[in-house]
């Protein structure tokens, strides 16, 4: 393999580029990204960056020295508009076509928008990019306490609510489901985690959808959120956190199987072995993770298989993610099997500090911790070891 193009200049793309180099690839490496920035870290955008305790310079995923060592050509501010997977030709919005021996797809995910025609009124935000975070921060700082409505009670919504509350705003979270976080944590643990909102003076409204946003003035500024049950929530700013979808629009005519992301085998390889996919855009063996650690771990596996020309390695990592809300660190690892019951192993939900194992048929397959990093780490390691296929 003499040349590789990486599409998407963020976490997964950067880690894939690093993995290629560290695994001995010394050919031509091109990294294409439609953002103008060098790769930066997204998790702080809803946490310390939003509250102002972390600055932009602390978000960089690589320093100048590492960037130089990577010895890559960076095409930033450049969009890939199409791919012919068979010939590995990538079309760019600059009119150029890049044809290389290998292609890494790392275009991540895009926030879902509220349904409805037209663009949302000003003061309505989604949060994925640095620009998104800056725009939201501008709306949250400078004035006095504002009324913020967060639509969607998932992890990003909860983190934004927590950061807004820390900045002194009046926050309401609206969740369409009867309880947020059930798909990730199951009913019981989701219920415990959702109590954090009330602990910190944030109102959580569940079981009600949003029908429309009201706005007024020459700048079409958001004024209120109308709920399905007719209630009207006055709002100075609205954050829409209703999930993301994989960024695969540009791959529609690529010839690759698209099904909740780019469909790959357990080694991150598409049916065309010289095209691999990593991170939030990749549906690896039936699962599309939207987590930091998966993106970094998949990159090493994908690089190995791309260089080998076939899937010689599979991604074995135990799924893991964390979330920081209201000063509480939530950590989760493993696979929550249907019908598994969580059991508190240590600590107490009332103190918002506990370790819980999800058990089924006497076996623990997942672990959740609130503010219990040390025992969490132990159990996570045990689970990872147990999940390894036995080798002799």
């Amino acid at each position: 393999m003499k040349s590789v193009t990486v599409i998407g200049a963020s976490l997964a793309g950067l880690y894939a580029a690093r993995a290629l180099r560290s695994q001995g690839f010394d050919g031509r490496l091109t990294i294409v990204g439609d953002e103008h920035h060098r790769p930066y870290d997204r998790p702080p955008l809803s946490k310390d960056f939003l509250t102002g305790t972390t600055g932009q310079d602390q978000l960089a995923l690589a320093d100048a020295e590492e960037t130089a060592e990577l010895d890559a050509e960076w095409l930033l501010g450049t969009r890939a508009t199409g791919l012919d997977a068979g010939s590995r030709a990538v079309r760019l919005d600059t009119g150029r076509t890049l044809t290389t021996d290998g292609v890494v797809l790392a275009t991540g995910a895009i926030p879902r928008r509220l349904p409805g025609p037209g663009s949302p009124p000003s003061g309505t935000h989604t949060l994925r990019t640095l620009e998104d975070a800056r725009a939201l921060r501008r709306d949250l700082t400078g004035g006095g306490p504002a009324r913020v409505v967060v639509i969607g009670g998932g992890f990003i919504g909860a983190e934004v609510a927590s950061s807004c509350a820390a900045l002194g705003h009046h926050v309401t979270v609206v969740e369409a489901a009867p309880l947020p976080l059930v798909p990730q944590l199951g009913r019981d643990m989701a219920e415990l985690c959702s109590r954090l909102h009330a602990d910190h003076g944030v109102t959580l409204l569940t079981g009600t959808g949003v029908t429309q946003l009201h706005s007024a003035g020459v700048d079409d500024r958001v004024t209120a959120v109308e709920l399905a049950d007719g209630r009207l929530l006055p709002a100075d700013a609205v954050v829409v956190g209703i999930g993301v979808r994989p960024a695969t629009d540009w791959l529609a005519d690529s010839g690759l199987p698209l099904d909740n992301g780019v469909r790959c085998d357990a080694g991150c390889a598409t049916p065309i072995p010289s095209v691999v996919a990593v991170g939030d855009v990749a549906n690896v063996n039936g699962t599309r993770a939207e987590h930091w650690t998966s993106a970094t771990e998949q990159a090493a596996t994908a690089a190995r298989n791309l260089l080998a020309g076939r899937s010689v390695a599979t991604h074995q990592g135990l799924p893991y993610f964390w979330s920081d809300q209201y000063g509480v660190r939530i950590q989760f690892a493993g696979r929550r099997l249907p019908g598994a019951t969580p059991r508190i192993l240590e600590g107490s939900p009332d103190d918002r500090s506990f370790l819980a194992g999800y058990e089924r048929d006497g076996r623990t397959t997942a672990v959740l911790a609130l503010n219990r990093p040390r025992p969490f780490m132990r159990l996570r390691r045990e689970l990872a070891r147990a999940a390894q296929p036995a080798t002799t």
């Binding site: 690093r18 702080p44 310390d48 995923l61 320093d63 590492e66 930091w292 650690t293 970094t296 964390w322 990093p373 040390r374 969490f376 780490m377 132990r378 390691r381």
Partner: protein, 106 residues
């Protein structure tokens, strides 16, 4: 010189955080005692909560690993070293000698 705890209270494989400013983590790795700055140089996590194996500690948040002897990171996402601090044991008590305080900045 900061008293940490009795040696008996820091068995092999254990670690303890002391609330200095900034906090320091003290480890008993296979019988050797080490002290490093407790806060990971990547983001906000306490290395005293990490996983010790040999003379390495793995951060509990994103798995960066640090060499307890030198403080140097051995893998990403951490890129900067943590400071190390000398540790002594006197009459069964563990003491940390704060590097900056005693002019032996690492």
């Amino acid at each position: 010189m900061i008293p940490v705890c009795h040696l008996d209270d820091l068995p092999v494989g254990e670690s303890i955080r002391i609330d200095t400013a900034p906090p320091i983590a003290v480890f008993n790795a296979d019988g050797e005692l080490y002290a490093i700055d407790d806060t990971c140089t990547h983001q906000d996590a306490s290395l005293a909560d990490g996983w010790v194996e040999g003379c390495l500690v793995e951060c509990p948040l994103h798995a960066a690993s640090f060499d307890l002897r030198t403080g140097a990171p051995t893998c990403l996402p951490a890129r900067r070293a943590v400071r190390t601090h000398p540790v002594t044991v006197e009459n069964g008590m563990v003491y940390v000698h704060h590097a900056a305080e005693e002019g032996t900045a690492a």
